[in-house]
Amino acid sequence: MDLGLKGKKAAVTGGSRGIGKSIATLLAQEGCDVSICARGQDAIAATRAEIEGHGVQSFGTALQGRDGESVRTWMRDTCETFGGLDVLVCSLSAGGGTNDERYWYRSFEIDLMSATRAVEEAYPHLKASGSGSILIVSSMAAAETFVSPMAYNAMKAALVTWSKQLAEHYAPKGIRVNCLQPGPTMFPGSNWEMIKVARSRIYSGVLRQQPTRRMGEAEEIARAAVFLASPAARWVTGATLRVDGGYTKGVQF
């Protein structure tokens, strides 16, 4: 099956590490030009080199996710550099970890607002694309109680509702919007890698609930993401796909 991504232009927020990076490089492998934004300049440079290794163009900006204007500027610069945009993946996240008040603002800005800002800037270009698609990366932590009450889980839940409404709103414009809910995912430098060592009881508690007794790998998440974002999924919109190796126990009707 051809995903139909060759020659397309894609942007991935938070595309320098983990799941975001895996999505970005897989899109490049499928023939997309790929733009990324993230905090660390070094990681951006390394990921861009990997993207370009697939014979496509890359673009990237180091920015703080809660700096709204920077996110918007990156999105505009991306569209200008590539001469348009076909695929937007919103994967940037502040991560979890605490329920302190300031973290609610942080998660709100980075997980939720970076997505809405990027979408707003990308909209005219996605509309012009004819096969535009948006993929919002939420989390399985939005769907079930997970670890502890915290901003991360609630903001990831907000993304699900927003993406569904966006899907209906954008469908007449030819833009598909889908949502992805990864389960616990392990990769070098992942927060789970840290939790495994630094808070081993939390880690083993989570792993016990995973029927396969292992966490997902970034590429296992990225494969589903790239399919949803690609023209191959042209009749899929407003969907929320859980990719968690069977972690969640609730039945989705």
């Binding site: 302190d100 973290y103 060592v197």
Partner: protein, 427 residues
């Protein structure tokens, strides 16, 4: 990832120069030092009765008449504050029939033995002997309690059982200059535990003299400290390493989320992790800057400490048995004391001190709590150390083990044994 260190020319009062690593060779450290009763006796004769030893905190005997009883091996020492403000120490033994005189700590106007109520003044002289005329030979000619040498420094009281030994200044050199800037005398004691451990006192000293074991038994700390690339300095008797805190080990990958121990350190300083936009590896420097700027508002005086002292652990060993985890706002001190008779047992004293912030109420003075290993938790990291040591001690007795096979990261252990053998003389 490179760790920023204080550079030549940067402000510091505590010396930060790296000392040349001495060449102590690579020989095995004989295990008998940890297991032999003969060696234990030599230690008593040549070390414990000769060296200066940490006795108590000055605040344990704050007011005239305050006293505290500490022990080393078979001896108990009564440390007390005099009306003129000086500290003095005496063997805690009644000259009549040898009974111990005081127990624990408290305040007294005289020291009175419970047995026949022989009574001594705060300066040790006889005050009253009931029915004194029933002793045809008169009072013991010593005139009262037997005094030991006492020296007070930086909030601590040291004593020496050797009336003719070296001066305290010579003994402690060069640590006065090193530790003075921390002003331990401004800190208040918040924890006072004595734990009986099933190992030799040196097995415990060794456990805190290297950070090579962090990747072994304290994996959590890899997300809070740099455990390998640290500076080791050895002096005449004492030694230290400077270990970066509030950072992550080179052994692990940098995460996007701030590890919980680092978050905790930020919050303690009043720095909100949610508002920090940099990378995890940038926190240590940012936290130093934040503390420098916000310390005065919190009522904490950092003016004599260099930048890295604001986050790191300048980890000192005061020979023979004091481990000091020094931090800008607190001190976690361990004292390792030998058992009275058994080389396979010891007393592990934990004393923690902290600076009070502005308007922070002084907590109640802690009572010395005594327990055995495993009876209660001392916190995850110390529990991990404690759980490990009986197994080490047991292995020392194995026919298949000759002694300690030490690497470069364990240089402080070699240095400790060098100084130990300077005192003890022979295995």
């Amino acid at each position: 990832m490179t760790i920023q260190r204080v550079k030549p020319g940067d402000f510091t009062k505590t010396p930060v120069e790296k000392t040349d690593d001495p060449d102590f060779g690579t020989d095995v450290i004989p295990k008998e030092r940890y297991t032999s009763r003969d060696f234990m006796q030599k230690e008593w004769d040549r070390l414990w009765t000769k060296a200066w030893l940490w006795g108590c905190a000055s605040q344990d005997i704050e007011e005239p008449g305050d006293y505290i009883v500490t022990s080393i091996g078979k001896e108990e020492i009564l440390l007390t504050r005099q009306p003129d403000g000086t500290a003095r120490g005496f063997y805690n033994v009644c000259q009549h029939r040898g009974n111990r005189i005081m127990m624990g700590q408290g305040n007294a106007t005289t020291f009175r033995c419970n047995y026949h109520h022989w009574e001594y003044r705060l300066n040790g002289e006889f005050e009253n002997i009931p029915d004194a005329d029933s002793f045809p030979q008169g009072k013991p000619p010593c005139g009262g309690l037997t005094e030991v040498r006492v020296q007070e420094w930086n909030g601590f009281v040291f004593f020496s059982l050797d009336p003719d030994g070296e001066s305290f200044d010579d003994f402690i050199h060069p640590l006065k200059e090193h530790l003075g800037p921390y002003h331990f005398e401004r800190m208040v004691k918040v924890t006072d535990w004595t734990v009986e451990w099933d190992c030799n006192w040196k097995t415990s000293v060794d456990a805190f003299n290297e950070s090579y074991h962090v990747q072994g038994i304290h994996p959590e700390l890899l997300y809070f400290i740099e455990d390998k690339h640290l500076q080791i300095d050895t002096y005449e008797k004492h030694n230290r390493y400077l270990i970066p805190f509030a950072t992550i080990s080179h052994r692990v990958n940098e995460t996007t989320e701030i590890p919980h121990l680092i978050k905790h350190a930020m919050k303690e300083a009043g720095m909100d992790p949610a508002d920090f936009d940099g990378r995890v590896s940038e926190i240590r420097g940012a936290l130093q800057k934040f503390k420098r700027e916000n310390g005065p508002a919190m009522g904490i005086d950092y003016s004599e400490l260099n930048d890295e002292q604001l986050t790191d652990d300048y980890h000192y060993m005061i020979f023979p048995n004091i481990t000091m985890n020094t931090h800008a706002e607190d001190l976690m001190m361990f004292r390792q004391r030998p058992h009275e008779t058994d080389p396979d047992r010891m007393y592990f004293d934990v004393q923690m001190f902290k600076l009070l912030r502005k308007d922070e109420e002084r907590p109640r003075k802690p009572r010395n709590e005594r327990f055995k290993h495993g009876e209660r938790s001392m916190g995850l990291v110390l529990d991990q150390d404690a759980a490990n040591l009986p197994g080490v001690q047991r292995g020392m007795h194995s026919a298949a083990f000759d002694g300690l096979w030490l690497g470069d990261q364990e240089l402080r252990i070699r240095h400790f044994h060098k100084v130990l053998m300077d005192y003890v003389g022979q295995d």
